[in-house]
């Protein structure tokens, strides 16, 4: 397998708020290669958005990366200065934001967004050339090229999101991070957008990181899935294995609580309790208060990642090979 485009080692991001320190991302490691999709799944407070932002150095104040490294094509991102990071954004790593309604500048034409982006990173390109590229990109994402002359409010939500995607791939990045790209959209449009992202991934050879709370979306389309809970990576495996053989109790609970329309007479089971307050996370394993298989050790120690298959990792003492049953 080719060397990974992006690899993350023991990344930890903390927010230093007035009320205390919040560890939004805690010891996350993964890697992703060309034409792969990694699905990052988590609920509110899981740290998935912070993770996404940290990949392009955009963690908002008062957050900072306090540990770990991010390598993009073997170059270390965390130690780059602001200038280098800015060059990186758009060209190597691109971010698609969640809300297409407010991510486009309402007083600029669609074309201007492209021109500004392209000329910032490639100053030698003329306006005409940039617009021509914009038209081609719009066509690639399924929008009529003439709409370069429209303003954002003249486009529907689905179309605006497609424009965002076109902007994201405009400079041929190696990695695209899409944070809840379809949450604000209807299910039919959502399906189209996800199809689009994946066909672009294939034709441009990018790596795609899909961040979402919707396990169903990533199951269908990802190569690998990482499930996050309270800032930690609790399970990381190929999607097929997460579906057929989920190991972490949270992952198992999630799968049992999501209605699947292809099953009839499904009995759903709820996960008791609610996600923890990150200012005061539970001691030991962060999931133990809600876990029906928790035992003593879970409350005392934080479980490390255990390898349970060639590419399957779980953060749970149940899988400690050295444990006495």
């Amino acid at each position: 397998m080719a060397s990974p485009l992006l690899s993350v080692n023991e990344l930890t991001v903390e927010y230093w708020t007035r009320r205390g320190r919040v560890r939004a991302v805690d010891d996350v490691s993964f890697s992703i290669s060309k034409s792969e999709t990694l699905g990052v799944v988590g609920e509110s407070g899981s740290g998935k958005s912070t993770l996404g932002l940290s990949l392009i150095g955009l963690v908002p104040f008062p957050g900072r990366i306090t540990k770990g490294k991010v390598f993009l094509k073997d170059k270390e991102v965390c130690t780059m200065c602001a200038e280098e990071l800015r060059n990186l954004r758009g060209t190597e790593v691109c971010y698609v934001f969640q809300d297409p309604m407010t991510s486009l500048n309402p007083v600029k034409k669609i074309g201007s967004h492209f021109v500004e982006l392209i000329q910032t990173h490639e100053p030698k390109v003329s306006k005409e050339e940039a617009l021509e590229r914009a038209r081609k990109l719009l066509k690639d994402v399924g929008i009529q090229p003439e709409r370069v002359n429209d303003y954002p409010h003249q486009l529907s939500g689905g179309m605006r999101q497609r424009v965002m995607i076109a902007l994201a791939i405009a400079l041929n990045p190696s990695v695209v991070v899409a944070d809840e790209p379809t949450t604000a959209l209807d299910v039919i449009v959502q399906s189209k957008i996800l199809d689009l992202l994946h066909s672009l991934r294939d034709s441009y050879g990018m790596a795609l990181i899909l961040i979402t709370h919707d396990l169903s979306i990533v199951m269908e389309r990802s190569n690998k899935i990482m499930i996050m809970y309270a800032g930690q990576m609790v399970e990381y495996a190929p999607s097929g294995e997460v579906y057929s053989n989920p190991e972490h109790p949270y992952a198992i609970g999630l799968l049992k609580s999501i209605p699947n329309i292809e099953l009839s007479d499904q009995k759903l089971e709820a996960i008791p309790g609610s996600p923890p307050d990150l200012l005061n996370p539970p001691t030991g394993c962060r999931f133990w208060p809600r876990c029906n298989q928790a035992f003593d050790r879970c409350q005392k120690e934080t479980p490390p990642l255990f390898k349970t298959g060639p590419e399957h990792y779980v953060r749970c003492f149940l899988y400690d090979a050295e444990r006495e049953p």
Binding site: V187, E220, P259
Partner: protein
């Protein structure tokens, strides 16, 4: 109308005039309307969960709010327990509100930030003069316990911002139950709640139905939840019901092309599933300019010339299964094969 039916809605419409500038108002010939709800009819049987499903802008929330009389319809009739309630006012309307309640989508915005939860939940009792003081406190505590907010003494004194979204939705349910209603409209009650908590809320609703003998009008855009909770489903598009039937039928034999596209688009947590790609042309038209004839024909790949001429009516294709598609019987069999 039989004793079985708790709610009947006939030809409901809600048109909002489009706001215009002074000049436009002075010189415009015709008025433009946003046709949020455009001739909707359905019935809900006592004790069942009837779901209105569809994407945003289809009119389902507006319909729900009209049913509980939060919004008045432009035209049409609503019957509750055999009595017409469309025009009720003042005291009679207030009495009605004891029987019909609503749970809102947004657990963050549906509570007065300056009232404690106990006060909010108990306030309807004060409004209707049903209980005060100790009696009120007792009823509030009982309900909070029942919806899973235990110990009640702790939650009674909390402010909304001190509770999580899931807890707030439970409190919302307690608030809607305190007047002992027969009928509850649940407007997307779990879409703003974390995925792992949704099942708990939905199961709570099902249990409450059993214990309190409730009937629900459930509104959602999430068809997977709709399949889990509903007895019967009505699919809405651009202000109209295009298909209606019991749950099994809709999911196993969807006939209307829109229903089919909708079902095919729902993500399924199975990496090996083969996707049935259904191409829908273009985007949803604006509710101000609804296409002529069948409002879906502009996006339908089976559309024929006739489809643009006359608005199709809901026709019963099998017992309890209604579809609004002109050539539905032939198309029906064609689609089932795909």
């Amino acid at each position: 109308m039989s004793q079985d039916e708790i709610l009947r809605v006939e030809n409901l419409t809600k048109y909002y005039p489009v706001e215009k500038s002074f000049l436009e108002k002075a010189f415009a010939r015709s008025k433009h309307f946003v046709k949020a709800v455009d001739n909707v009819s359905f019935t809900v049987k006592r004790g069942e969960i009837f779901t209105l499903a569809g994407e945003s802008g289809c009119g389902k929330t507006t319909t729900g709010k009209i049913v509980v009389r939060l919004i008045s319809p432009t035209s049409g009739k609503i019957f509750f327990n055999n009595i017409e309630i469309t025009e009720l006012k003042n005291e009679e309307l207030r009495m009605l509100k004891r029987k019909m309640q609503i749970i809102f989508q947004d657990p963050y915005a549906s509570f007065n930030p300056r009232m404690k939860i106990g006060e909010t939940v108990g306030h309807p009792l004060t409004i209707h003069g049903l209980a005060e003081g100790d009696e009120k406190r007792k009823r509030v505590a009982e309900l909070l316990d029942r919806v899973g907010l235990t110990p009640a003494e702790k939650f009674v004194d909390l402010y909304p911002h001190q509770m999580s979204g899931g807890q707030r939705q439970r409190a919302a349910m307690a608030r809607s139950l305190i007047l002992q209603p027969e009928f509850i409209v649940a407007d997307e009650p779990v879409s703003m709640i974390d995925v792992s908590l949704r099942t708990a809320i939905v199961d709570l609703m099902l249990n409450l139905r059993k214990d309190f003998g409730l009937t629900y009008l459930f509104i959602t855009h999430d068809l997977a939840i709709a399949k889990y909770i509903s007895d019967r489903i009505g699919i809405m598009y651009l202000g109209r019901i295009v298909e209606l039937g019991d749950k099994e039928t809709i999911f196993s034999n969807p006939i209307h092309p829109y229903t089919q596209a909708l079902l095919a688009a729902i993500p399924v947590p199975d990496p090996d599933r083969k996707r049935k790609v259904t191409e829908l042309i273009g985007d949803v038209p604006s509710a101000i300019n609804i296409p002529s004839g069948c409002r879906f024909h502009t996006r339908c790949r089976y559309a024929k010339h006739e489809c643009g001429k006359e608005e199709p009516k809901l026709v019963e294709v099998s017992s309890g299964h209604f579809v609004a598609c002109p050539s539905n019987s032939e198309l029906g069999s064609k689609f089932a094969e795909n």
